[in-house]
Symmetry: C2
Subunit: 348 residues, 2 copies
DNA sequence: GAATGCAATGGAATGCCTTTCATGAAAATC
DNA sequence: GATTTTCATGAAAGGCATTCCATTGCATTC
């Protein structure tokens, strides 16, 4: 039967090295109880024949699939793509995760799943059945979806929740949103700002809440009023415009605004320009995320860098090693404030 | 033997529907010779049990793996990532390809391969052995690597070459680089420019050559001199600076410059600003690629849009359908000129 | 009415690797 | 020196879906 075959299989290697399949398997998987000289002989044959095991067969025989699945929100991903607004988190995610996966012989597969869909678990369930991944990475807002975490718990598939600070099953990995927001706020306070507005992110993102909280705490700690200075947003450019307008229509208006992502910060900047407010002279702006676009605005934006690549890299490592050390939980991959030209002391 | 099993397998479905495995298989794969009522019965069971075939098993039994492999240059990818300069081609590639793959039940896997490496084929060969993809997409500069195309030909794996205009095996898919460059050039000529400089891309990219060629032909067609007006670059910001300096040091200097990518256009813009040249008053600039950053410069850049997502979408479709229609070869997914604020008639 | 062809279905083999179990040999224990 | 462990290795049994081949039952054809 002439089916499409693998060119070199484990039995070729076994034959070449003069040992049984199982011994070759043991060598491949670095198992104990193989004599060093035997191991060397097998490795030489593997090298000679350029043998690489088929992950399909490895998966079939009941062990690992060497696949890590990353679940993204379809709507968010596609709309950001369409908008072409330089949302480079896909890049960062892919590369941070991919490089680390590759180091361990794993591959990543990306999947878009609808959030606003009654069948999220069914959809995910099908993907799991098809792929049988060794680990799953959930990105917001899926990270907080109890239907999904429950499903993964039942299936006993290790998973990581990106951008989640809430405890629970799976590895929660976050950037320290509250701390980062506080840091940004303190930076502005240090410059002399007293009225600092905050544009919140989409409420279905757990981290939105924490960013607000960090700002609020920093304000309180400095003895500053925050009443009315936090306005809602949903991460979109449009919502950022509305929020910025609302803040700048206050009397007195804030002298600085922190936006929960770059899109809304860009919107704020545009509003400032439209109102002939000098940035940073009349209004200081800090954004979250630090995507590449903030370096090409005038002025360049001071931003809280979100270490997406590092976060995914960490997620992959946790999944592969499954190092369940609850003490470290949730895992912190801290963000950092990148100072650029959009922040300065306020004019009085 | 309690191994890690698939919860629902084809035999469960067969049992539930009261048919044999093979009939279920036929239904799954949409094969002929199944009575409609039988097909309906099987489909009902599949639906009821939430059955989804395991791709590992599908691959094992000798047919398709439902995987498409995308080969990227490690160096280029990582350096652009590090530089964080808004190179959104990864986004575009991922999404354009992923959405189309998903529509057909396929998945994409990304792989970084070193170009400047003696073992390119060996590395790729190993990946193929492990994954056994149904199709492979090569991105520049791998698209032009004869060692790779030879390997894939031997293995009889269908592949697409992105950004390649040269005939040969596999599907060559390009954006019509010469035509796009000509279009950009004609746009400037139409505005009244006579001295139009061109910054070429890295010479190991086939398309670099064609972009220059398009410009050259448009110049010739309009009866304009091009001698000395084309300077080398390698797609990096630094090389763009050098190239822009070289062009602007000419006497007489060009009144317009076309850069072969956005990075070099940004460099040109920076040089213009440093020299107090008004853009577009003193110097018009057109870039290639149209990544998001060109919308955040001052002024926004007129750019040739490279339809990366559409190109990958096309590549995936060709691979899946394997529609070998040599007449269409090489396939064109045309770019288009997006006019923004960096082009205007020259001052005399 | 017998022979032929084809549609519809089932049976069995097969792919490549790991896991489980068994075996023989060497090392450790008494 | 005999028995029990431990180590090193091999044999065989899957896993899940497909491919190839065989069979049944029917509609054509002569």
């Amino acid at each position: 039967m002439a089916r499409r075959n693998q060119s070199v299989t484990i039995s070729h290697v076994a034959a070449d090295a003069g040992v049984s399949l199982q011994t070759v398997s043991r060598v491949i998987n670095n198992e104990p109880n193989v004599r060093p000289e035997m191991k060397a002989r097998v490795q030489a044959s593997i090298e000679k024949l350029h043998y690489v095991p088929s992950i399909a067969a490895q998966r079939m025989s009941g062990s690992r699939s060497y696949l890590i699945l990353v679940i993204n929100d379809r709507e968010r991903t596609i709309s950001e793509w369409r908008a072409r607004r330089g949302a480079d988190w896909v890049d960062q995610m892919l590369l941070g995760g991919m490089l680390t996966s590759a180091e361990h012989g794993y591959r990543m597969i990306f999947e878009l799943v609808d959030t606003h869909n009654d069948h999220v678990e069914r959809e995910l369930s099908g993907t799991i059945a098809a792929l049988q991944p060794d680990g799953i990475i959930l990105t917001p807002p899926h990270s907080e979806n109890p239907l999904i975490t429950k499903l993964l718990d039942e299936r006993k598939i290790p998973f990581a929740r990106i951008g989640s600070l809430s405890p629970g099953s799976g590895f929660a990995i976050h950037m320290g949103d509250a701390g980062s927001a506080a840091q940004a706020t303190q930076h502005l306070i240090g410059l002399g700002h007293k009225r600092i507005g905050f544009i919140a992110g989409a409420p279905d993102y757990n981290l939105s809440h924490w960013r607000v909280e960090g700002w609020r705490q920093a304000m309180a700690q400095a003895g500053l009023q925050d009443a009315g200075l936090c306005v809602p947003g949903d991460f979109s450019y449009e919502s950022g415009r509305e929020a910025a307008l609302a803040l700048l229509n206050l009397d007195p208006a804030p002298t600085a605004i922190i936006a929960s992502n770059d899109q809304m910060a860009l919107a704020t900047l545009d509003i400032a320009h439209e109102r002939n407010l000098a940035v940073p002279g009349d209004l200081s702006i800090i954004s979250f995320d630090n995507t590449p676009v903030v370096r090409f605005t005038t002025p360049q934006l001071t931003a809280v860098d979100q270490p997406i690549a590092a976060t995914f890299s960490k997620a992959v490592e946790l999944l592969i090693h499954q190092a369940t050390s609850p003490s470290e939980h949730p895992y912190l991959v801290p963000g950092s404030l990148v100072e650029r030209a959009s922040t300065a002391p306020p004019k009085f």
